[in-house]
Symmetry: C2
Subunit: 225 residues, 2 copies
DNA sequence: CGTTCCATTGAGATGTGTCAATTCAAGTGG
DNA sequence: CCACTTGAATTGACACATCTCAATGGAACG
């Protein structure tokens, strides 16, 4: 169980301890939420299956998606700081998650140094990823952003031993646009352009990456269409 | 010393221990760097005085500023994850910082639960802040972004018991533009517009906020000019 | 006292947003 | 099982915010 939820190297006895604090919840259906913005924080969650999105509602009522989560990833850590979740997490499809009560995790981390380090790393990596997104939103064209997202999703599929070139998007074009700071129409047009240049084949949400090299070049701004 | 660098509530004996691992470095001058992108990570840093910026250079060679740091704030935590700093930190003016070796901090955190929690919180809050910036870059107009940044800087001055309404910017218009995903010219024009509407008075980098309420309305998109 | 960096302003170009219409797929209820 | 509704995606025409290019003036600095 702990193996599935927190794939790290631990002593057998440690795994046992960790195992004891992890809760398996019922699966979420599409549209259901793990927690909502402003809920009190008391646990982080590991994605076992399915995909989810994180979003927050700003002062003007506009939603902003800040992340997509795939199996093996940890979510909910933004809430540690203030003790309140600054965002809502919603399932994009049927999804199973593990709940890891934070209070107990803190205690356990004190006793298992490698676990503590692991969580520091997880938090730190989320910062690094957010900053990557910031860089993208600040500087890149619509094509670069879409290409980068597709490559990121591709890489996350590959890490799970799934096809890196053919996969199904679980989010709508609107979600993608929202995440990348673009409109639905722009996303649609970019998809069309990428297909015309034979970098991609897309039938609705079914995507096949035809030329990963070129796609990377587009993402990095080395090539343009 | 530890009091200055990590203002948290600790037992006297704990403070002593923490104190012993903190290094005071020589002050940095404008343009000097704390560390560079791809340097190996082995410490985090607390800002004692002065301001700094964090930026990373992408594949296409473009710089992207991801944060500004003020006294009392902690920087360098993005590097924990991969053991390598994903960004460069550079002083915007003369600045003094404390170095906190991470190896020792980890050990100490295991023994002092409140210290561990404190660091989890710091990391988590950086995530929350980054996501706020993401939301801004994705959805907001140039005016909203500039207004929001000015208010953020104002709040950080206030936290240090300095004037929240009158202060000197330590970064150039180019830095601001880079951070907000806008060009220098746009920043300049927004400043001009904000002044014409009497929300602000700016003489070069010297800024006086004349109408914080309206400025907040602009930042939130409730008011437009 | 030149040199360099920084800030401002104008005019025109352009990428992306907005508005609107259409098609298609998936549910839903009679 | 068939309308009917609803949500998602695509495409076109046009608007507009911001970028690009260019010129100028001032401040900082050696």
């Amino acid at each position: 169980m702990a193996q599935i939820c927190l794939p790290i190297a631990l002593e057998a006895s440690d795994v046992e301890q960790l195992d004891s604090i992890i809760q398996r919840g019922r699966p979420l259906r599409k549209g259901e939420r793990v927690f909502r913005q402003n809920d009190v924080f008391n646990a982080v969650y590991a994605v076992r299956s399915g995909t989810l999105k994180s979003y927050r509602v700003g002062g003007s009522g506009a939603e902003q998606i800040t992340a997509f989560y795939f199996p093996g990833e940890i979510l909910g850590m933004e809430g540690i700081g203030k003790g309140i979740h600054p965002n809502t997490i919603e399932a994009l499809e049927t999804a199973a998650i593990c709940e890891i009560p934070f209070e107990l995790l803190g205690d356990l981390s004190s006793r298992i140094p490698s676990l503590q380090r692991h969580f520091f790393q997880l938090l730190s990596q989320e910062i690094a990823e957010d900053q990557l997104l910031i860089a993208m939103l600040g500087k890149n064209s619509a094509e670069q952003r879409v290409a980068a997202l597709l490559l990121s999703i591709s890489a996350r599929h590959a890490r799970r031993k799934l096809s890196a070139t053919a996969f199904r998007l679980t989010m709508t074009r609107a979600d993608i646009g929202n995440y990348l700071g673009l409109t639905v129409e722009t996303i649609s047009r970019v998809f069309t352009r990428l297909q015309k240049n034979a970098l991609l084949s897309a039938d609705g949400r079914e995507v096949i990456i035809l030329d990963a090299g070129q796609l990377r070049a587009v993402a990095e701004g080395t090539a343009q269409l």
